[in-house]
């Protein structure tokens, strides 16, 4: 049962005061404190000038890092303590190492049943001839998934730092002025020797990179090293022929989509394998005959995905560093 209050009565209640205070109305404390308006302050222009000068002089004096005796003392103290700390760390590590099991021996704690199973059953369980590839992409795939995302997040931070964006209104953002993109010295010049060498070398380098990626489960190599080689080939091409040529087939859009598809494929494929593994379901992906190119279950497609991401990322790093965009 609510009783209707008159407006006058309502104005006396706490609720009214509280809501008035909340909505920015009259403040209950404002009226109770005596407030006298101050006399208008008139600054003497000369004095202001002098004050400003003094202020600057004080700042110069205070932040004069080169002639500050205390700061120098602090610096030398810091140097001495860090050298001492590093020497201490070195001694500690050397002593530790002297107690560790001997290198090269076969009967160490490291060579236990874990490594044994990777070597003995690896071929059968993962289908990869290269045991390391089988290990990082099948047995310990979660680490590798994290690793490829480390690369992804590093690219994102580099994009944040170095990408030059135009606003919608066409304003040039302040970074552009800092970056000074008109520097023609950063643009590659038409060097005949470099171009000739690049014409021969770039295809070979890229084919070698592709070989490393596709052969990742059969021999040394894999997505990451192959991708880096391809990236190096692309960078050489860019250096020889300039941005205009590369932009014909490789822009930021291509980069974005390649990265997206490869990483999504990686995530989804691994999710499938994790999910089936954990719930003890049978995975439909065959391992194939060991030694054949189409073997090793998911390892080959994953290597290709990682290779694509790495190649694009390396090229993207270079392009970002050079001119802040593709």
């Amino acid at each position: 049962m609510s009783k209707k209050k008159s407006a006058e009565e309502y104005h006396k209640t706490f609720a009214f005061h509280f809501f008035r205070w909340l909505s920015g109305g009259k403040d209950p404390y404002l009226g109770n404190v005596e407030m006298r308006p101050q006399k208008e302050y008139e600054a003497d222009p000369e004095m202001l000038l002098r004050q400003e000068k003094e202020h600057d002089a004080i700042l110069d004096k205070v932040y004069d890092t080169k002639h500050n005796a205390l700061l120098k003392l602090f610096h030398s103290l810091y140097e001495i303590t860090s050298i001492l700390f590093c020497l201490f760390l070195m001694a500690l590590l050397l002593v530790t190492i002297s107690y560790l099991p001997a290198t090269g021996a076969a009967d160490k704690p490291v060579n236990n049943e874990v490594a044994g199973r990777y070597i003995e059953k690896g071929l059968e369980e993962t289908g990869a001839v290269n045991i390391v590839a089988g290990m990082i992409l099948d047995y310990r795939a979660f680490d590798t998934l994290g690793e490829s995302h480390v690369l992804f997040v590093a690219t994102i931070t580099v994009l944040i730092l170095l990408r030059l964006d135009k606003n919608k209104k066409g304003e040039v953002n302040p970074l552009t002025k800092e970056m000074n993109p008109n520097d023609r010295i950063y643009e590659p010049k038409n060097d005949a020797i470099l171009q000739l060498v690049a014409t021969f070398l770039v295809p070979i380098i890229i084919i070698f990179g592709i070989y490393i990626i596709l052969n990742g489960h059969l021999g040394p190599g894999g997505g990451f090293s192959g991708g880096a080689v391809i990236g190096a080939g692309l960078i050489l091409y860019l250096n020889a022929f300039g941005f205009q040529k590369t932009e014909r087939f490789f822009t930021e859009k291509t980069y974005k989509w390649i990265c997206f598809f490869s990483l999504s494929f990686y995530c989804l494929a691994k999710s499938y394998s994790f999910y089936t593994g954990a719930n003890h379901l049978h995975s439909i992906i065959p391992n194939g005959t060991p030694g054949a190119i189409l073997s090793g279950g998911l390892i080959l497609p994953l290597n290709i995905a990682v290779g694509l991401v790495v190649a694009c990322t390396m090229y993207a790093f270079y392009a970002m560093f050079r001119k802040g965009g593709f």
């Binding site: 390391v132 010295i185 040394p220 090293s225 880096a228 080689v229 990236g231 190096a232 960078i235 560093f321």
Partner: protein, 89 residues
Amino acid sequence: MTAFQMILMGLLIICAISVSFSRNLLNSVLIYMSFSLVMSLLWICLESPDLAITEAAVGAGITSVLFFVTLKKIHAINVAEKTEEKKDE
């Protein structure tokens, strides 16, 4: 093989120390590049060809290239040459 490994490790330490004391930034990056190369040789000796390939492609390749671009951006490579080129424009 052991002697070869020891020589390589000696080279590693020499490279690491000379990086710290070299005055020129370009020199220190070049020394770091050779450090990576020696490292990849060492990994061949330690029977890890995967690592050797990756280190050669990444440490001696991509990372050094990125270092060079950075040096160029911060005008640490040959200031004189740069000013000449500006005149040409």
